[in-house]
């Protein structure tokens, strides 16, 4: 075999990879960025949510409603526990990855159950599973309707609104399963809190 023929596939591969980098990497991405920015700009730019005229977050990215020391603020609905950075750090998405037999998982659940029961003034057994566990992304934007309803009394007390008003607010914010059967019913915490902020402003 001559040098010429044995070197040929390498030149073919090199030229092919250069073309692919331009077409499949750059042009393909540029095309879709164009489509996104022109046709679907709201989604393409992160489904942001505004309150009082300024962007306060994304409806898809969960947030912490705690003070600087991580203590939950009573006047806001609380999100799930989070393992992203120090909690809801969207520059470091992550699950806890605690294994089922890891004693740390069992003790976290126990501690959270006690803390939430005390904070909400309910029986420990009433705290739902999603309130006790960290999500897969650490950025879960939603909680279960059960966890949202559990927080009604405490939020009402802290905001000065009546139980009934807050309860109606939560009920109006429950999203059923997609198409009636996909996934789980949820309550988006940021959107719920934005609606709550609008109520308390009046």
């Amino acid at each position: 075999m001559s040098v010429r023929t044995s070197a040929r596939p390498w030149w073919v591969a090199l030229r092919a990879m250069l073309v692919f980098t331009v077409v499949l990497g750059v042009a393909y991405t540029a095309l879709l960025t164009g489509v996104g920015q022109l046709v679907l700009p709201h989604q393409a730019n992160g489904s942001t949510v505004s309150s009082g005229g300024s962007v306060v977050g994304s409806s898809l990215i969960g947030q912490s409603f705690a003070d600087e020391d991580g203590k939950p603020l009573a006047r806001w609905f609380q999100s799930r526990p989070s393992a992203a950075g120090d909690g809801y750090d969207a520059s470091a998405s992550s699950a806890s990855n605690l294994g089922p037999s890891n004693a740390d998982l069992a003790s976290s659940i126990k501690d959270r159950r006690a803390a939430i029961a005390a904070f909400e003034g309910v029986a420990p057994a009433a705290v739902p599973d999603d309130a006790l566990t960290a999500s897969g992304s650490g950025l879960d934007p939603a909680i279960s309707p059960a966890y949202a309803l559990l927080q009604v009394k405490r939020v009402a007390a802290a905001t000065g609104l009546s139980d009934a008003v807050v309860h109606r607010l939560v009920e109006s914010r429950i999203s059923g399963r997609e198409a009636g059967y996909l996934g789980e019913p949820t309550v988006n915490v940021l959107e719920l809190n934005v609606a709550l902020a609008a109520l308390t402003k009046d």
């Binding site: 040929r8 596939p9 390498w10 073919v12 591969a13 090199l14 030229r15 092919a16 990879m17 980098t21 750059v26 393909y28 991405t29 095309l31 879709l32 960025t33 489509v35 920015q37 989604q43 730019n45 992160g46 489904s47 309150s51 306060v56 898809l60 990215i61 947030q63 912490s64 600087e68 992203a84 809801y88 969207a90 520059s91 470091a92 998405s93 992550s94 699950a95 806890s96 990855n97 605690l98 089922p100 037999s101 890891n102 998982l105 999603d130 006790l132 566990t133 999500s135 897969g136 992304s137 950025l139 879960d140 399963r177 059967y181 996909l182 996934g183 789980e184 949820t186 940021l190 809190n193």
Partner: protein, 553 residues
């Protein structure tokens, strides 16, 4: 009146089934046309001129394999170089050059269609490396897998032929006629569902509480589409498809599941078309679907019957049912994307994800690799059935002789050897063991052993999912996993092409009364049995050391 989870979950599974049953026929027919059409598109002709390839020239198995190996080596060099040069590239978000061992691992990982991620993308990869290196390999590694499957089918279909097609043509057509158009459509659907597509970087906002929050940016939808469609699985973000910007809601979740399964489940139809008997493809698809259904059922039972904490590592919008369906789809194909933390699954639920990979990813497997894996098992099955009942060992009119059975057996041995040797060495080598136990393993006890077993099983099968508590960004893990991924990808491909060539050279023997029919339920049962026996016998001891012991404890 709210619908119980189980009813909603079953309806969702039915939806996936209906969509796949409806789409696999037209998709299979389309793929058959793509790989057998006589005319090249003008665009393709231009491309062949640029790279210097004569598309009408057929290749022997040796030349076909050489093309794959050379192309993949160049791919590894490209992705490695991009990572090393990251500091100089635009849109790198301030991230610098990536260390050698990690760059090597990542380059190999994306070229082998594994997409194992030793790194956390959120804090490592700028947009330039993601789109210029990783997205490109998402496309081409998938097209390589499809090409190898097509070469094997041609080997079975051809008579007294010394060639299997042209690798560069199969690669180009897989991209131009299948993956790129489908990825564009899929990306637009994902965009509409809320997946982001921008170059905005990290946006900082002031929250309702007066605190601050970050909204990440990135060209995600374009990468997400081919990540799923090409059964790649490498996440744009660390949380992969659990991240709300990769997988915002239950609809996109279902869509991503279908994207993973559509090509692998259409490959048997393509096979049936090209060998001139679609019933042969249906038999193969039936075995794939049966294993998938059994595994999904077991995992869902284990996850719904767990103690408190079933939602650890799972997203509220998906719950248990949409998580286990995704987990089964991702480990039964070679995808490895995750929408929930497999490390936090119950011991036996996590074991099902591990088992899906241990089957050799044949239910339905990766794009291309699933079909060729299953065809190798079909060859073994025909041989064993021949021994049991005294039938002539032949498949589709091709004789299964000593050479074929040797190649098929070697193929079957490669991935278990790599997965088990990698795991064993991690605990056996004195210097390595300390690093694995003190740095890599996250969860204590038996679960930690499973984390290591899962990593090497995932790498050997080119899956890419992980028990992600594991810290894999160490020199030992980065390099040993890269070696396992390389051998787990290309050694089986070499055996498949050798098999293809040995079949292509043969005449077709006419079926006689002594021929075992390979399209009947009887053969489906036999093939299923062989798949299970091969897997169970190989892996039972090590499963007993890890997830079985943990789960039964």
């Amino acid at each position: 009146m709210t619908m119980p989870d189980s009813v909603a979950g079953l309806l969702q599974i039915m939806t996936v089934l209906v969509v796949l049953v409806a789409l696999h026929r037209p998709m299979g027919a389309y793929l058959a046309w793509v790989y057998s059409a006589r005319r090249d598109w003008r665009l393709e002709r231009g491309f062949y001129r640029v790279i210097g390839v004569d598309p009408s020239r057929e290749q022997s198995s040796g030349a076909y394999l050489r093309g794959i190996l050379v192309f993949s080596t160049v791919g590894i060099a490209f992705v490695f170089a991009l990572q090393k040069l990251q500091a100089l590239l635009p849109y790198s978000l301030g991230f610098g050059s990536i260390p050698n061992a990690l760059s090597f691992n990542t380059a190999v990982s994306f070229v082998t269609n594994t997409n194992w991620q030793s790194y956390s993308p959120d804090v490592t990869m700028g947009y330039a490396v993601q789109l210029g290196g990783l997205v490109v390999q998402n496309f081409v590694s998938a097209a390589v897998g499809m090409a190898v499957a097509v070469a094997l089918i041609r080997g079975l279909a051809r008579v007294r032929s010394g060639t299997l097609g042209n690798f560069w043509v199969d690669l180009t057509r897989g991209l131009a006629r299948v993956l790129v158009p489908m990825a564009v459509v899929a990306a637009v659907v994902l965009l509409a569902g809320g997946v982001i597509q921008n170059f905005g970087g990290f946006e900082h906002v002031t929250t309702l509480t007066g605190g601050s929050a970050v909204i990440p940016g990135g060209p995600v939808a374009s990468q997400e589409a081919i990540k799923m469609l090409g059964t790649n699985g490498g996440g744009f973000f660390n949380a992969n498809s659990a991240h709300p910007f990769e997988n915002p809601n239950a609809f996109t979740n279902l869509f991503e599941i279908v994207l993973m399964l559509i090509i692998p489940f259409s490959m048997p139809r393509l096979f049936g078309r090209l060998v001139g008997d679609t019933r042969q493809g249906t038999a193969i698809a039936a075995v794939m679907a049966t294993i998938f259904a059994a595994s999904l059922t077991a995992m869902t039972i284990f996850e719904t019957h767990g103690a408190t904490g079933a939602m650890e590592g799972k997203e509220t919008r998906f719950g248990v049912w949409s998580s286990t369906l995704f987990a089964t789809a991702t480990t039964s194909t070679s995808t490895g994307a995750v929408n929930s933390a497999h490390d936090s699954y119950s011991a036996l639920g996590g074991m099902m994800a591990l088992l899906d990979m241990m089957f050799g990813e044949i239910s339905p497997g990766g794009v291309g690799s699933g079909l060729y894996g299953m065809l190798v098992l079909a060859i073994i099955t025909v041989f064993i059935a021949g021994l049991l009942v005294g039938r002539t060992p032949e498949y589709l009119g091709k004789k299964i002789g000593p050479r074929q059975i040797t190649l098929a057996s070697l193929y079957i041995l490669v991935t278990p050897t790599l997965a088990l040797a990698g795991t064993a060495l991690s605990f056996a080598l004195p210097g390595v063991r300390d690093s694995v136990i003190s740095t890599s393993i996250f969860n204590p006890g038996l679960h930690g052993v499973t984390e290591v077993l899962y990593a090497y099983t995932s790498a050997a099968n080119n899956n890419g999912s992980a028990f992600a508590g594991l810290t894999a960004n160490t020199d030992w893990m980065n390099i040993s996993l890269a070696v396992v991924m390389l051998l787990g990808r290309f050694v089986p491909i070499a055996f498949v092409l050798a098999l293809a060539s040995s079949f292509a050279a043969q005449d077709k023997v006419p079926a006689t009364a002594g021929t075992l029919p390979t399209h009947r339920p009887q053969f489906v049962g036999l093939l299923l049995g062989v798949s299970i026996v091969v897997t169970a016998l190989t892996y039972f001891p090590v499963l007993a050391l890890g997830p079985l012991a943990e789960g039964l404890n």
